[in-house]
Point group: C2
Chain length 198, copies 2
């Protein structure tokens, strides 16, 4: 029971890599087995069925995303909205983060069909991300922070979506406009320390 678990874990790691590189849908058992260095036969020995594999790989990927975000924006830091938007956009629009965003969007389209487990997972991820952003915003009113976080999350998703279809210029314009608007919204309050466009 030990050797099996170890191999299962190792396989899952490679499987997550493969899904990040090629997507959830196009990942057949055979293709996953190849990159994991085993056979489809063995994958179905380590996991109960393909759904188990998908579910497991997806949660591993979610953990990786959470880690990447945590590393980029540790939980201690507090930002006011325009700053947060700038920092998060920089992280999430980075080329090396693109595979994660692609899996996120694919997960969303699978969830839209209403099929489990995708709908459940996608909802949890969205909740997690909103809370995660809210925890990093300034302000005492928790519900106001949550509203602002929901706003930032949806704007970020839309931004990355534009990037994903090759409209980087439009995404740039949208981001600049958003930051500018948010800055003006905060009154003249501390409109100084923002590295990107002033």
């Amino acid at each position: 029971m030990k050797r099996r678990d170890a191999r299962r874990k190792a396989a899952l790691d490679r499987i997550a890599d493969h899904m990040l590189a090629h997507g959830i849908g196009p990942s057949s058992l055979r293709a996953l087995a190849d990159t994991a260095g085993t056979s489809d036969r063995m994958l179905l020995y380590y996991f109960t069925d393909k759904d188990d594999i998908t579910r497991s790989a997806l949660s591993l990927i979610c953990l990786r995303i959470a880690d990447a975000l945590e590393a980029a924006v540790p939980s201690g830091s507090r930002y006011w909205a325009p700053e947060a938007m700038s920092v998060l956009a920089q992280v999430m629009r980075a080329p090396e983060f693109r595979p994660h965003m692609r899996v996120w969007f694919e997960l969303v389209t699978l969830a839209m069909r209403g099929e489990e487990p995708f709908l459940g997972i996608a909802g949890q991820v969205a909740d997690y991300f909103v809370d995660w952003v809210a925890a990093r915003l300034e302000g005492d009113d928790a519900s106001a922070r949550r509203a602002e976080a929901a706003y930032l999350v949806s704007a970020l998703d839309g931004l990355v979506l534009l990037d994903c279809v090759g409209r980087h210029e439009a995404a740039d314009m949208a981001l600049a406009h958003l930051i500018e608007t948010a800055q003006r919204d905060m009154g003249g309050l501390a409109a100084s320390n923002l590295n990107p466009p002033s």
Copy 2:
């Protein structure tokens, strides 16, 4: 050459319906033929191959989306940003519009893989939509309108994404926050008439 074209067109209409209802990916030739009232054999007689079918259905769906948007927000009307956001969100978040948004998101995830024709189509759709919104905004500066439009489009996409994963409450909060922010941003200028077009 006439009968064939007529049948092709009729089939395409039903095919678009099927794709809106069930998605692009899960639409096999057989399933499409069933809802079109023919056989897969005949679909490949009307069209050159499945890619031709997908491409054709997708452009028909895009036309339908354009029509629906045009009907909801005719080209004569001009809005200032918070108004526009409110109106567009109401249209695009409506349950009857959901199938169209699902196809849009699926198109985006297909485009993310970099495969044609999806990447090209998705880019065109994004461009079209940004221009469409820009043409309906107030203001003389065309490039400022485009920037604002790109911002609104990305925010709208993110909003609908939250809806699609079942987070309607978060989407509501995000929308409310966005409108409030945008209103405050415009100064006190005409912060009164939000519902109707000016």
